[in-house]
């Protein structure tokens, strides 16, 4: 009887050990958390920016606002004014409030970039997964086409198209979306190919599941994480790309502000020490750096950890 007691005890005591420690939850370092804060800040600005901004983005500030008490000049300069209580971050080349324009610009810049990136993902992932799960013929056709698109310098492509059909926000979004779809395609395809040969996809295939189920339920959820990381990076590239287009004068319609064209418009203030071009540039930089920080953190490789053990 002592024997049997011991046996049950033993059975209870030696349960199967977990196979491996549960996967580490995503845990951000301080830099990653800083990144999240900055991105959250800008996202908040996207929503509330216009309502908290002191002026409208199109407002050209009255000269009267800048009259220095005691001065007899009734028409002081309003452009490239340094930060003051009238305009906290100074004014731009036209005498508009830099702070307000930056706040409004967040919506335009982030909105366009986000829409473009989403479009790029919609197109890129759809075609990429189609190439991965479709037949060899479809795969090579799509891949060659994609290689060709990739080989065309994106700014040139944008220039030609905009020269031909003009620049409006929808055109900008579609164009950027399609240009960046080609890089997304590559990633989606290779991830799709990896997942496609995994056993759980085979299990679904052998069950007789259709392509739609396999793609949406089996493949996509599993490529979501790496794609999300890539989405961050892609978003950064799109912001920079759209800013560059704006810089070349192909951006949004005035008086709407987007950060890229704000930098361009007020670049001539730089020699006078105006902060007008620096504020939007800083906005771009903080947002992109923040996203990069998050991405870096999420994709921090075990390699980095292993490399630290090198002697």
């Amino acid at each position: 009887m002592a024997d049997s007691v011991e046996k049950t005890e033993a059975r209870a005591a030696f349960e199967e050990l977990p196979d491996a420690p549960p996967r580490r939850r995503l845990r951000l370092s301080w830099s990653g958390r800083l990144g999240v804060c900055v991105v959250a800040f800008w996202m908040a600005i996207v929503f509330i920016g216009p309502s908290i901004s002191p002026y409208h983005e199109a407002d050209i500030l009255d000269e009267a606002l800048f009259i220095v008490p005691g001065s007899d000049n009734p028409y002081p300069e309003t452009d490239y004014q340094p930060p003051s209580s009238v305009a906290w971050l100074g004014t731009d080349y036209l005498g508009r409030d830099t702070l307000s324009r930056t706040l409004y610009g967040a919506r335009t810049t982030i909105g366009i970039s986000l829409a473009s990136t989403l479009l790029a993902y919609l197109v890129g992932v759809t075609l990429g997964i189609a190439a991965a799960v479709g037949g060899t013929v479809m795969d090579s056709a799509l891949s060659r086409f994609n290689d060709a698109i990739l080989s065309i310098p994106s700014i040139m492509l944008a220039l030609v198209v905009i020269a031909a059909i003009g620049s409006t926000i929808p055109i900008l979004i579609v164009l950027t979306g399609l240009i960046y779809a080609s890089t997304v395609f590559r990633i989606a395809r290779s991830l799709g190919l990896d997942v496609k040969v995994s056993d759980f996809v085979e299990a679904a295939r052998v069950r007789g599941e259709g392509l739609w189920w396999i793609v949406t339920r089996e493949i996509l959820p599993n490529v979501a994480m790496p794609m999300a990381t890539d989405f961050g990076l892609r978003f950064v590239y799109v912001i920079l790309f759209i800013s560059s287009l704006s810089f070349l004068g192909l951006g949004v319609q005035p008086p709407q502000s987007d950060w890229g064209s704000m930098v361009r418009e007020s670049l001539s203030g730089l020699p006078y020490g105006s902060v007008a071009p620096l504020v939007p540039a800083l906005a771009i930089a903080t947002l992109t750096i923040a996203i990069n920080l998050i991405v870096d953190d999420v994709s921090a490789h075990a390699g980095g950890r292993l490399a630290k053990r090198m002697i």
Partner: protein
Amino acid sequence: MALLNAILRRTALGVVTLFVVSVLIFVGTSILPGDVANIILGQMATPESLAALRAKLGLDEPAHVRYFIWLSDLLTGDLGFSKAGAGAGTIGTPISEMLMPRLVNTLRLATAVAVVAVPFAVTVGLLAAMYPGTKLDRAVTFTTLGLISVPEFLVATLLVLVVAVQLGWLPATAYISGQETGMKLVRALAMPALTLIIVASSQIMRMTRATVLNVMSSPYIEMAILKGVPRKRIILRHALFNAIGPIANVIALNLAYLVSGVVIVETVFAYPGLAKLMIDAVQTRDLPLVQACAMIFCATYIVLIFIADMVSILSNPRLRHPR
């Protein structure tokens, strides 16, 4: 055999891609309003003269026929004529004649940047990967992160203001005539090259570091640690050899970018390179010139990527030494 197969396969892919590119460019430039005859004739166009020139240039043929004529001309090195300097009644400048000096300028700049940026960036990237988490690594990570996050026009403009306008060390623009030699050439190239070196190096550094660190997570690296192999040798012998392929790819992408993606730098510094030529050609609807430039850019990209693939194929012992 496997090696040869891989090379042949890759070559075939490159050729197919080039072909697809040529179709895309041909179709793509057709969306620009106005045709070549219109452009050549310019203001002296009359319906009759247009029709005559269209017939002469084969523009009255259907699109696919025109495409193959264009392609065969291209393959025989006949890039056609630009309307540039057409003057009155003449057909214009042979495009090859216009491209050459621009190509030389672009290559000169690209070479200058590559010669400095590639060794510098790869070395620093490796050092950062070698000492992860150290001050050096953090400095590299944050600097490159900052630099790739800022639009390059800002980098370029700030450089001009500081180096050329404030300090007066270097010229603010970079126009070169082709006759410059020695210090004069160096001075002329300095500003655009510096900007591009900063931008390209950041990318290469980051990618080198990431690639090497990625390789660093392989079990054979752990094995090397457990064999008591010193850090330097782990990086230079064990990790780098396996990272050559991906690094070559990064370098190729950045070099391709130098040749084509430098529009902004060429604009800010008024550097007469190919990218600027193409922009001007787009604006003046000089279709043959646009097509020729686009073909050069795409071909450069494809060739560079091809070379990078060759490097990774050749650095892969599985292909080099089949079973």
